[in-house]
Symmetry: C2
Subunit: 200 residues, 2 copies
Amino acid sequence: MHIDAIVLHLFELGALRFGDFLLKSGLRSPIYVDLRATISNPRLLVAVAESLHGAARNISYDLVCGVPYTALPFATAISIAHNIPMILKRREKKAHGTGKMVEGIFQKGQRCLIVEDVVTSGQSVLETAQQLAEEGLIVEDAVVLVDREQGGRKILAEKTLQLHSVCTLSSMIHTLLEKKKIDEKTAADAIAFTQSHQLR
Amino acid sequence: MHIDAIVLHLFELGALRFGDFLLKSGLRSPIYVDLRATISNPRLLVAVAESLHGAARNISYDLVCGVPYTALPFATAISIAHNIPMILKRREKKAHGTGKMVEGIFQKGQRCLIVEDVVTSGQSVLETAQQLAEEGLIVEDAVVLVDREQGGRKILAEKTLQLHSVCTLSSMIHTLLEKKKIDEKTAADAIAFTQSHQLR
């Protein structure tokens, strides 16, 4: 599936919405990217996973790790399609059992690619990277479906984490405008918001 | 992959261990079932997903929902292989965004199959079922890779939830004994534990 087709599909699913939204960072935004709808659309999920795998084609890695929750199915789909072992980072340590923070089988020194749905500040990616690094894994790259272009890429780069993205928020907006799914004003408002809300 | 091959693979991966373990329920057990290793083995993950799908072959359902975390990749693999929409239950409500407890696209009245890795008391399955029911979904069936046979099946049945399992703990132990992976005493101790620790 071509990236434009993925973008249109996301829009039709309501995964890209225009209005007034409160973001994780506390900001209000005229555009909301909510990729969780992809999990209920297996064909789109596979297409998204393929596009992520493609965006990471020049990186060498031994493992994939999705950032909970939305990117977990993305990482699983990449793992299955390309026979790449997956590891899973918990949100919080279990009080019982083996008490691991990172689940799955891995060895220190293996290279792990982080998989994420949307990057704004990069905070979720960073937390995941730090936990993986504490386990002795090498984490230098993250692949994301949507880079909101609000500074996350730079913030991650400062921590020696390279962000690879399938789409940027502006490229998606341009696609929707070109395909006449949104009007000029909606597109301009969304792009202006992104440009005026740089986190770094 | 035949069920016996899955059991042997799980044993080799350390997903079935014999020793002295503290379970979620607070009990100590001579056998520990830790299926999280499956997530790092894509071929096994697909085989497990197929066996779960097979165990649910007589059930009609519109959606699958994995219990976090280990069963999430199982549900994803079923969803992808059989083009069945997945929904995702969060562990806790988000403070921001759309604030949904259940992510993904669904309609009230749809039938959802719960996917789980191991059932002991059935508590995790029950919590998931209750949250899905609150969203208006019909939840009458759960499919699990390993039923520990400690009462979970009965506890779930009392809540009108039918448990379908690929393996029982005793069937796995018998397979390992038959394949000479464990000795008679280890097998007997593990089976005796299961039989003497019924939760209902």
